[in-house]
């Protein structure tokens, strides 16, 4: 524990606050559009989802570490370092999400629990993508390709995902509850995958 406590300040300084901050501002601007008129209010769930995506794109940079190779062989395990980064970013993410929700007029705000589940799943997916980038590549800054992958995946899911497994449904849609059961599965899967990716392998798969 003393080790983690002493790491808090330097790790805090290594986090990509600029990118996360810009993503957060972009997300809040998108959310603020729900206050611009009646038609915008009708689109509030979609605007909120666009804001979530913007913020998640920022979180894809969370594990960018220019000193990755210089600190590749230190005894502090990688899962501890990743967990610390996530823990330091979590209060900022929670504050951002609270602000985003408050920006949406109460009358048109989607069910808070369900939309928070979507936000949580998207953010965890972004960090999991970054963890996979660290786990399976040698790049010190996996953020950009992961952010691109996240955006592309979101667009492809919206366009081509089968209706019976729909994730992005309007609030009034009868599939809303079922869709959020699926969001729960996405969140759980992302958490498990993220935990797997955070661990350093002791051996590679033998391919002889």
């Amino acid at each position: 524990m003393p080790l983690t406590r002493q790491l808090v300040l330097p790790v805090h300084r290594t986090l990509p606050w600029g990118v996360v901050g810009m993503a957060g501002v972009a997300g809040l601007l998108l959310t603020a559009l729900t206050r611009t008129g009646e038609s915008a209010e009708r689109l509030s769930a979609y605007l909120l989802r666009a804001a979530i995506l913007a913020f998640a794109v920022g979180l894809a940079f969370l594990l960018d570490d220019p000193a990755r190779h210089t600190t590749a062989a230190v005894p502090t395990p990688r899962p501890v370092r990743i967990a610390l980064r996530v823990a330091l970013a979590a209060p900022a993410a929670a504050a951002w999400w609270t602000a985003a929700l408050l920006l949406v007029p109460p009358g048109v705000r989607p069910p808070v629990g369900d939309i928070t589940l979507e936000a949580g799943a998207a953010c965890v997916l972004a960090v999991t993508g970054a963890a996979a980038g660290v786990r399976f590549t040698e790049v010190a800054r996996p953020g950009l390709p992961v952010a691109g992958g996240l955006l592309t995946t979101a667009v492809l899911v919206m366009l081509f995902w089968p209706g019976r497994w729909a994730l992005f449904v309007p609030v009034e849609d009868e599939r809303w509850a079922a869709a959020h059961d699926r969001w729960g599965v996405v969140l759980a899967g992302a958490v498990i995958l993220g935990a797997v990716c955070a661990v350093e392998p002791l051996r590679r798969r033998v391919r002889f």
Binding site: Q6, A67, H69, T70, T71, P75, A140, L202, R207
Partner: protein
């Protein structure tokens, strides 16, 4: 002498390329040079021995610990210093803050002891005067010394240095040689380099790699001796030579199989290295 590092049968593939092919070696205290052309597998071997990259096959121990287990790897890392080929930094950190950050990651939790150790290594690498300066404002050579300081912090028993002198000017290289020679006193240093003169001046042992395999392991004198009777002088470039170049005196220095009656020259470590690579190339082609 008990080896610091003992490896047998290390193999690793990247796609269809064998980066390491059944590598076995033993490292003892002192500086061991690792020579080889680009793509020989030097960096891969260093990364495996530094526990930054797991091998596909084979086993090794460092300071008596097996990095093939989680506990063993952590024990190894507690006694390891690693300077990668392209060290990265957090540019807004000062030299002191960065080495201090690495020291925390190396589990030095007592702040007073740690700060003394950070000051000691920054003194050792000659950065005492600029320890409060942001890394973004340091020259390339100074940044390299910050990375060496980060590798040295905590008095590691095994130091892995991947081409630390690349891109440095002659004065900086000389300074680095002093540092590496000092670091090699009482600990085991594995130094990857393209500079045969670094090996000749610093190393008590040398390993030559090509195409993922160890082609030579011995002393620098033994590597030099491989070229004995295979270096000669001529007034024209000898077409039968494996390599030949005009020297400053206007004569040609040739390396390979000399013709009868050739004027033989004293070989250098570089000649031995070139001929070892040539022999390895012939072996691969066969």
């Amino acid at each position: 002498m008990t080896p610091t590092v003992s490896a047998s049968g290390l193999s690793l593939r990247y796609g269809g390329t064998r980066a390491l092919d059944d590598v076995s070696l033993r490292l003892t205290p002192g500086v061991t040079g690792l020579l080889g052309p680009n793509g020989a597998g030097k960096t891969t071997l260093l990364r495996v021995l530094a526990t930054a990259l797991p091998a596909d096959r084979g086993a090794f121990t460092v300071l008596g610990h097996d990095p093939g287990t989680a506990r063993g790897r952590q024990e190894v890392r507690r006694r390891l210093g690693y300077l990668p080929q392209t060290p990265g930094f957090h540019p807004d950190f000062t030299a002191f803050e960065f080495v201090d950050y690495v020291a925390i990651l190396k589990e030095m939790t007592d702040r007073g002891v740690r700060h003394r150790e950070v000051r000691r290594v920054l003194d050792e690498v000659g950065l005492a005067d600029v320890r409060g300066k942001r890394i973004r404002k340091l020259s390339g050579g100074m940044r390299q010394r910050v990375a060496l300081g980060a590798a040295l912090v905590g008095e590691p028993g095994f130091l892995v240095l991947d081409e630390p002198t690349v891109g440095l000017d002659p004065e900086q290289r000389m300074r680095f040689r002093e540092l590496i020679a000092g670091a090699g006193e009482g600990r085991t240093v594995l130094l990857s380099t393209h500079q045969t003169e670094d090996v000749a001046m610093l190393c008590h042992r040398v390993i030559v790699m090509a195409a993922g395999r160890v082609r030579f392991e011995g002393t620098p004198a033994e590597l030099t001796a491989r070229a004995a009777g295979r270096v000669w002088s001529s007034t024209e470039r000898d077409p039968g030579a494996k390599a030949g170049w005009r020297t400053g005196t206007g004569t040609f220095r040739n390396v390979g199989a000399p013709p009868p009656g050739a004027e033989l020259l004293e070989p250098t470590l570089e000649d031995g290295y070139l001929l070892t690579l040539d022999d390895a190339g012939a072996e691969v082609a066969a």
